[in-house]
């Protein structure tokens, strides 16, 4: 048996198909992951993401500590509540995890990490505390809900209450606010509008039931994966891991190599850059019928690549994926994917995202 979130009973009651994810018993779907996908694109859906772990970084050295630990620069966070996406790297410049950092106060940053690597992340933070004056506090007492979709904020209004709803509605994308012990952020993993919230574990089920009663559809990890892939967002453990650098994982935009700041992995990334990158992450779409899968070989003009994520896009009704290909391969070019029985499937490299705010963004 894996770990259970505070919403486990809700999932079981809703007859969810449960699966192991990063050591947690999580809902894969509640009947149809495609219906859940469309609910998020067209209306609103709710995800239990309490398996993701919150870590508080507090103290006078919180900022310099994170400037040293993270590949993105928290000095970009100048407005309270602003969020920053980035990677935690090892000395070799490989990816330990990707995470979001929220700027809550000059001496208080809140970090949300993935379930699978969470323990190793926290150990890593602790091991590199050195002389920094910071306290590191995991928050297993918090549950996390993601309410996503074009109608997420409207449908959530009655449950959030006027003050919290106004606070959430006023937030710009990638900003957060705290209101009476509820943390709400305009972040997500779907490519739709919406919000994520952190609440005490004891209150999570009340919020969950309230949202569902307003017509917000429970959505599982299956829909979460097709939504994030359509939105062109990486999944840790698939699209990047401890064997690759963020520069070859489509995450160069999250790495701040500006002079004047040392961080773990920086010298390795500079070395890699000087030697020249060999691969890059791109989007890929099938021309004909079929489904793309993680691990399939991609044959481009410039050489071979591999699919790091693959699925069937419910919004586009075709196979899509992310692939690591030779660096010279460009969007628009045709390629071939080797199927599970060795069959050749015609595909095209495309620049992600595939879908945002309910609309297809690729032309095939």
């Amino acid at each position: 048996m894996g770990h259970r979130t505070p919403l486990y009973e809700e999932h079981v009651r809703a007859a969810a198909r449960m699966v192991d994810f990063g050591g947690w018993d999580m809902p894969l779907h509640y009947g149809s992951q495609i219906a859940e996908h469309h609910a998020v694109r067209r209306n609103a859906g709710i995800f239990d993401v309490s398996h993701m772990r919150t870590l508080e970084v507090r103290g006078p050295d919180a900022r310099p500590f994170l400037r040293y630990l993270l590949a993105n620069d928290v000095d970009k966070l100048t407005v309270l509540g602003k969020a920053l996406y980035g990677c935690l790297l090892n000395e070799q410049g490989f990816v330990l995890d990707d995470l979001i950092t929220y700027y809550l106060a000059e001496d208080w940053f809140r970090i949300v990490v993935n379930a699978g690597p969470a323990d190793q992340d926290i150990a890593w933070f602790r091991a590199h505390k050195g002389g920094f004056d910071v306290d590191l506090t995991p928050r297993p007492d918090l549950a996390m809900l993601a309410v996503q979709g074009p109608k997420a904020l409207d449908l959530a209004q009655a449950v959030l209450g006027p003050a919290l709803h106004v606070a959430a509605t006023r937030l710009k994308p990638f900003h957060s606010a705290v209101h009476e012990d509820v943390f709400v952020a305009r972040t997500g993993y779907t490519g739709e509008d919406g919000f994520e919230m952190l609440v005490g574990a004891d209150r999570a089920a009340d919020f969950w039931r309230g949202f569902v009663a307003q017509g917000i559809a429970p959505a599982g990890l299956g829909a979460r994966d097709t939504l994030r892939l359509e939105a062109g967002m990486n999944l840790y453990g698939h699209d990047m891991d401890l064997s690759v650098s963020p520069l070859e994982s489509g995450l160069a935009w999250t790495v701040s190599l500006a002079p004047g700041r040392d961080f773990i992995g920086r010298s390795a990334l500079l070395r890699q850059q000087a030697q020249g990158l060999r691969q890059r992450l791109t989007g890929l779409a099938l021309q004909g019928a079929g489904v793309l899968r993680h691990g399939q070989v991609v044959r481009c003009r410039e050489g071979e690549g591999v699919l790091t994520s693959g699925t069937f896009s419910p919004s586009l009704a075709r196979g899509i994926g992310l692939a690591r290909v030779p660096v010279a391969a460009v969007a628009g070019e045709s390629c071939e994917v080797v199927g599970r029985a060795g069959q050749i499937m015609a595909a095209r490299l495309v620049a992600p995202p595939f879908v945002r705010h309910g609309r297809p963004l690729i032309d095939l």
């Binding site: 779907h29 149809s32 992951q33 495609i34 299956g222 079929g290 489904v291 699925t311 599970r340 029985a341």
Partner: protein
């Protein structure tokens, strides 16, 4: 609990077989579709193809996974469900009806009778947990 119609025959790899005057109709069971989740792609054999019992003859893919379909008995394909290629979701909603995959003329007329009946298949499902 998944449905297991009493009038059908079954395989260990979760195909069902219906004996008709024209031949054997083959599909995948309710249990199989439930395990796989939302179906999005089907690859069928060609009419006239000669199938060998226990060999792959079709593919069904859900968002989550791909799975081979195995020929329940040896024989020749006499019809395939072309509509299903356009509407693979029928495998989820009507696995024993509109989501039949293909029809087979068995080499040995008695072959279907050697396959599991409904109670044997139910016992198999119970043992698989």
């Amino acid at each position: 609990m998944s449905k297991v119609p009493v009038e059908l025959r079954y395989t260990k790899s979760h195909e069902w077989i219906r004996a008709t005057d024209e031949g054997l109709v083959v599909g995948i069971t309710d249990h199989a579709q439930d395990l796989m989740g939302d179906m999005v792609f089907v690859e069928l054999p060609k009419v006239g193809a000669h199938l060998v019992a226990g060999k792959e003859c079709a593919v069904v893919e859900s968002v989550k996974a791909a799975s081979d379909v195995y020929a329940p008995v040896t024989g020749e394909v006499i019809a395939v469900n072309q509509t299903l290629a356009e509407t693979p979701e029928t495998l989820n909603s009507d696995p024993y009806g509109n989501a039949w995959l293909f029809k087979l003329r068995p080499a040995d007329k008695g072959a279907a009778a050697t396959l599991m009946d409904a109670s044997a298949y139910e016992a198999l499902l119970a043992s698989e947990g």
